[in-house]
């Protein structure tokens, strides 16, 4: 029986003989020992790695990744890296105010684009020359670029590597987990919105994490209610008809890191490439984000740092 296209035996198990997909499964397999060693060497200088995932699109992964990176980089003594592996829809450059920036090469690899001295960013967006350029690639080519991002970017010494992902459970997600198996991943933060249409996809993402043994730091419920600025009444624009993230987390025994309400200023700051946390410090959404970031930081601090891990 098919071992599963994501398994380490994909393409090489006895059941794979004669399967039309065999060659392709084998091609997408985990990095060979030499590649794995290369990746491990490059990622040795990274203390903590956090993946930001969701089964569902448009729930605020990139928004959250950008704010998480900014929040962690608020401490001058921490070095933060933000890696955007959404190859088809890279939102991170705009959100970080880096639209139009390009990647430079040096002797030690590709240089990340720096927002602050202690906050560097990498995205396919920096490799495109026009905002209309589309990356119309099938899986294997996307995987190749993701591997390059991990292998060739000279991040230097990094305290936190935040990885923003596209929605789904496909090539990008399998690849990043396989390539990072050479290093240490603290865990995944899963983003959702309250309604069942989102949760049904997010449960799949949670199953994916369990399948590939990726620890789940917790879930963030975004777009959780809207308070009218005029009359202050609350509306549930994305109604939690099945109990929202709270009920899902209870059922699946996962931590709910927090709920963030809708605030029109969030989208505005993202569009302008500014930090919502800095621009609108008094918003209830800011307090929610800050508390969630704090919890993630605490979770990471409890993990062993990479140097301490016995390889």
């Amino acid at each position: 029986d098919c071992p599963g296209t994501g398994s380490a035996q994909a393409g090489s198990a006895t059941a794979c003989q004669g399967c039309p997909n065999q060659r392709l499964c084998a091609a997408g397999a985990a990095p060979d020992p030499a590649e794995a060693a290369e990746l491990r060497a490059r990622l040795r200088s990274v203390k903590h790695t956090v993946l930001v995932l969701s089964g569902k699109g448009g729930v605020g992964k990139s928004t959250f990744s950008a704010l998480l990176a900014r929040g962690l980089a608020a401490r001058d003594d921490k070095q933060v890296a933000l890696l955007d592996i959404d190859i088809c829809g890279p939102s991170v450059p705009r959100m970080m105010g880096l639209e139009g920036e390009q990647v430079h090469q040096s002797g030690s690899g590709w240089s990340p684009v720096y927002v602050e001295e202690n906050l560097g960013v990498m995205s396919v967006g920096f490799l495109l020359s026009s905002p209309d350029d589309a990356v119309i690639w099938r899986g294997p080519k996307k995987n190749g670029l993701i591997k390059q991002f991990l292998r060739d970017v000279d991040w230097g010494e990094v305290d936190y590597l935040i990885i923003d992902t596209p929605p789904g459970t496909s090539d990008e997600h399998l690849s990043i987990v396989q390539y990072l198996s050479a290093a240490h991943v603290d865990g995944a933060v899963i983003i959702t919105t309250p309604q069942e249409v989102s949760l049904q996809d997010v449960r799949k993402e949670i199953n994916f994490c369990r399948k590939v043994k990726l620890p789940i730091i917790g879930v963030v419920e975004n777009m959780s209610g809207f308070i009218c600025p005029k009359c202050k009444n609350e509306s549930q624009i994305f109604p939690p008809t099945t109990g929202g993230a709270e009920k899902m987390c209870q059922n699946l025994n996962i931590s709910l890191l927090g709920k963030v309400p809708l605030d029109p200023q969030i989208g505005k700051s993202c569009d302008k490439g500014q930090s919502f946390l800095a621009e609108v410090p008094e918003s209830p959404a800011t307090s929610s984000y800050r508390s969630i970031i704090q919890r993630i930081q605490e979770y990471c601090d409890l993990q062993h740092s990479q140097e301490e891990k016995i390889i």
């Binding site: 089964g55 088809c88 209309d132 029109p264």
Partner: protein
């Protein structure tokens, strides 16, 4: 699943194929596909929806048929009917999963294989419209779907965006995808365009405003309209209800009805 060789292509009875695309996730592609199907049905049309979002299939739940299974007939797979009168038929990987929370963790090649089957092996019968709902992006699903549909000369694509620049940025890339693959752009919809508070009627542009309309102007494609955020629409989709029939006074209704009308006008015998 066996590949059937039907004497007549399974898409031979389909008058118009249209795709719902967006570079961006979560902007309302499945919502638009669903509401468009419901509106076309009210106009007396037979509609099918092919859901090629293999990782996050939303269509079954939006029609309250998430428990249904797919059966086979001589010419292939029988689509799932959303109503007794069989006026809306659906196909989605959601119907093929053993458990609803099962993750489809497939790389491109396996996704491509299923999409080819979805395009050629579903026995749609006679349809006025086949709407293809897609995942966000410009990758395997999109390339494979467009390639498989090419012999059937799709009418074109409707692109959905939300108003803010971050979404429009991705939809610009989708426009490039359409240009490169020779897919006609029927128009752009700006979804989640403003929210009118049900308590005090104050309008707040939660996700900004105007970006979709500007993009249509800039790209020289028709602007099909702005659809406001409507909690009743969200609720309706959650429950798998027929928003078009049950909530004609709700704030999103006029825009959605207008979109359907433009599609009908564009495909009537008088227009060419």
């Amino acid at each position: 699943l066996p590949l059937c060789s039907a004497e007549r292509s399974n898409l031979a009875g389909v008058q118009h194929v249209l795709l719902v695309l967006s570079g961006k996730g979560g902007v309302g592609k499945s919502t638009v596909a669903t509401e468009l199907a419901l509106a076309l049905r009210v106009a007396g049309k037979r509609v099918g929806i092919l859901d090629v979002d293999l990782c996050g299939p939303s269509i079954p739940r939006m029609f309250r048929v998430q428990e249904s299974a797919v059966h086979q007939c001589d010419s292939g797979w029988v689509p799932v009917f959303a109503h007794q009168d069989k006026t809306i038929s659906l196909m989605s990987i959601g119907f093929l999963l053993e458990k609803p929370d099962d993750a489809v963790v497939w790389r491109g090649p396996k996704k491509n294989a299923l999409i080819k089957q979805f395009v050629s092996d579903v026995a749609w019968g006679e349809l006025d419209f086949l709407i293809v709902d897609t995942p966000p992006g410009t990758s395997d699903e999109h390339i494979s779907t467009v390639e498989a549909l090419r012999p059937h000369k799709p009418l074109g694509a409707i692109l959905v965006t939300t108003p803010q620049a971050v979404s429009v940025g991705d939809v610009r890339r989708e426009l490039t995808f359409c240009k490169k693959t020779g897919l006609r752009v029927l128009g752009i919809i700006e979804n989640m365009s403003g929210f009118v508070c049900p308590h005090c009627s104050e309008c707040t542009n939660i996700f900004s405003k105007g970006g979709g309309e500007e993009l249509a102007k800039h790209a020289g494609v028709p602007f099909l309209g702005s659809v406001p955020l409507d909690p009743q629409l969200s609720q309706s989709l959650e429950d798998g209800r027929d928003f078009i029939q049950e909530f004609p006074k709700s704030s999103a209704f006029p825009a959605l009805a207008h979109i359907a009308q433009q599609i009908l006008d564009g495909t009537s015998p008088q227009s060419s």
